[in-house]
Amino acid sequence: MTRHPHIEIADDTMRLSGDMLISDIEGIAGANVPSGTISVIDITQVGRMDTAGAWAVVSLERRIGGGGSKPMVTGASQAQAGLLATLREHMPQDAAVPSHKISVADRLEAFGRATTRAAHTAIAMTGFLGQVVATMFGLILHPKRIRWIAIVHHMQQVGLNAVPIVSLMAFLIGVVLAFQGAAQLRQFGAEVFVVDLIAISILRELGVLLTAIIVAGRSGSAFTAAIGAMKMREEIDAMKTLGVDPITVLVVPRVLALILMLPVLGLIANVSGLIGGAIMSWIELGVSPSVFKARFVSDTDVWHFGVGMIKAPFFALIIGIVGCYEGMQVKGDTESLGELTSVSVVLSIFLVIAADALFSIFFEIVGV
């Protein structure tokens, strides 16, 4: 049975009683004490006492003593005296925690630091890109060093295994485009233009862009996590000591596999999106598959397809480089692994969309 702690003050003696345990010690430690009159703290009546209880006694002792002479603590058992001595030795003198307010200057400084950090990251990532490209050229000169098995393995991981999700996504996008386009075009009696709408938007933009976004979420994060875990377990350092270049072994196969597979996935997405659009046009607008096909073949410039496909390897390069770079940045703790994996996905999706915008301007200028 525990007895609640209690304070009694008589003349110059403060008498503590009860069990001084962590669960109900706060009242004692924070109790009001008359300053200067107490010279003895008597703990004879105290039953059990833990560290928190000893902390309360020592903080009372210090508060009563103030700057002057400290009161005597009497009546401690041997164990309690030992505990009190330990506490006196280890309790910080000034318990007050300095409060720090965030000023405007602090915010400006944080902003400046974030900006320079972003600039440094951009420079470092460009450097990493250069390193990877240089390694690739080196491998062209020495093709025996190319890790074919690793490349094929990653091609299966990022390419073949992504086919179901990519084709389903593109199919649904085609369906949505046809469905939404139909509602608008029907108002003008221009239903058949839905073919152009679907063909151009999917071939030129959506097929490859959305595939790249899915691949960034699927494979970019996997690259970061896998390389980051190797970094954490010092596998990458082990490779370096064995004279194995981590870029050749880990980064190049992943980036190459992505560059090879993203156009293929983009093509699958295009076909699947067109099929989705065609089926929806047939159901919703009565545009039969043969009409759809005829209009598609006669009206759609092959460059729409070309523009989409040209972008695919560049998107792949962005996703691969960002994913591997962030993986290499992982430090020893699990926290940074999770953080960098999410950075990797967000950054690669952002950069893919930014690159897509640049490509749009470029193709506009070139006129295709």
């Binding site: 345990l21 962590i22 706060e26 560290t51 902390w55 030992g82 280890h90 309790m91 318990a95 926290e335």
Partner: protein, 259 residues
């Protein structure tokens, strides 16, 4: 329970992973206030025993009583009360990586008790200094600490609520000899100051010599022998002989005598 009863009592413990039997009818008693060292070769289930005793692992059979109460069949609410009375330090410290040292040490207080932030901070500061960490460690994240400091912080978290029993899983593994010796002294000091019972899984012969009251040797799925370091020398079992009379044991013994 009376004072004489063992604080931890394990009877007929059987643990299995799939078809692999780790413990096969293991018996062990730990007395109140002692430091018991659990030794055994790799894979003899030292850490598994620790996990079974604190209830992280469900044994296939057997009875485990801590403070006289069964760990296995206690209802959740009572188990929570039981859990307040022990602290566990895992091998790498197992600090929560998203919290700094102070928040880590405060975590058990925050979960189990209703204390004001000031009190929590004051108690955490004391515990951190008690385990020999500098005060500026309070604000540091676990990733910024060295291995030894992480273990100390893990120990501070384990003793945050002044438990009656502390379970330590290889606290000195991976520390340099100076750090390991300092950790041994720390454990002995805190045992004296807080009246702890220490359940100490270790490989470290120096620690066994320095602070353990009794040693329990795990082998062949059970406790082969318990006793003091001196008694271990007399036991006639090839593994025990090899462990306690090998070159490293002799070196530790010599060190102890000259010290």
């Amino acid at each position: 329970m009376t004072m004489g009863d063992p604080i931890i009592s394990v009877r007929g413990l059987v643990t299995r992973f799939g078809t692999h039997t780790v413990h096969d009818g293991l018996d062990l008693d730990v007395r109140r206030g002692e430091i018991i060292g659990i030794v055994g070769g790799s894979g003899t289930g030292k850490s598994v025993l620790l996990r079974a005793v604190v209830g992280l692992l469900k044994p296939a059979a057997g009875e485990i009583r801590v403070f006289g109460e069964s760990v296995r069949d206690t209802p959740e609410l009572q188990y929570r009360q039981l859990r307040k009375r022990w602290g566990v330090m895992f091998q790498g410290g197992a600090l929560f990586s998203s919290l700094n040292v102070q928040q880590n040490v405060e975590a058990p207080m925050r979960e189990q008790l209703d204390l004001s932030p000031q009190t929590r901070a004051a108690l955490a500061a004391i515990k951190v200094r008690m385990v020999g960490l500098p005060e500026n460690a309070l604000g540091q994240m676990p990733s910024e600490l060295s291995g030894g400091m992480r273990k100390r912080a893990g120990f501070a978290r384990a003793i945050a609520l002044d438990p009656e029993i502390v379970f330590l899983d290889e606290p000195t593994a991976g520390l340099d000899p100076i750090g390991a010796a300092a950790f041994d002294i720390l454990i002995a000091q805190l045992r004296a100051a807080l009246g702890l019972t220490v359940f100490f899984v270790t490989h470290d012969l120096d620690s066994l010599h320095a602070i353990c009251d009794r040693i329990a040797v795990l082998a062949e799925g059970r406790v082969l022998a318990t006793g003091t370091m001196a008694e271990m020398q007399q036991i006639d079992h090839p593994w025990v002989q090899a462990y306690f009379k090998g070159p490293r044991a002799r070196a530790a013994l010599v060190q102890k005598r000259t010290a």
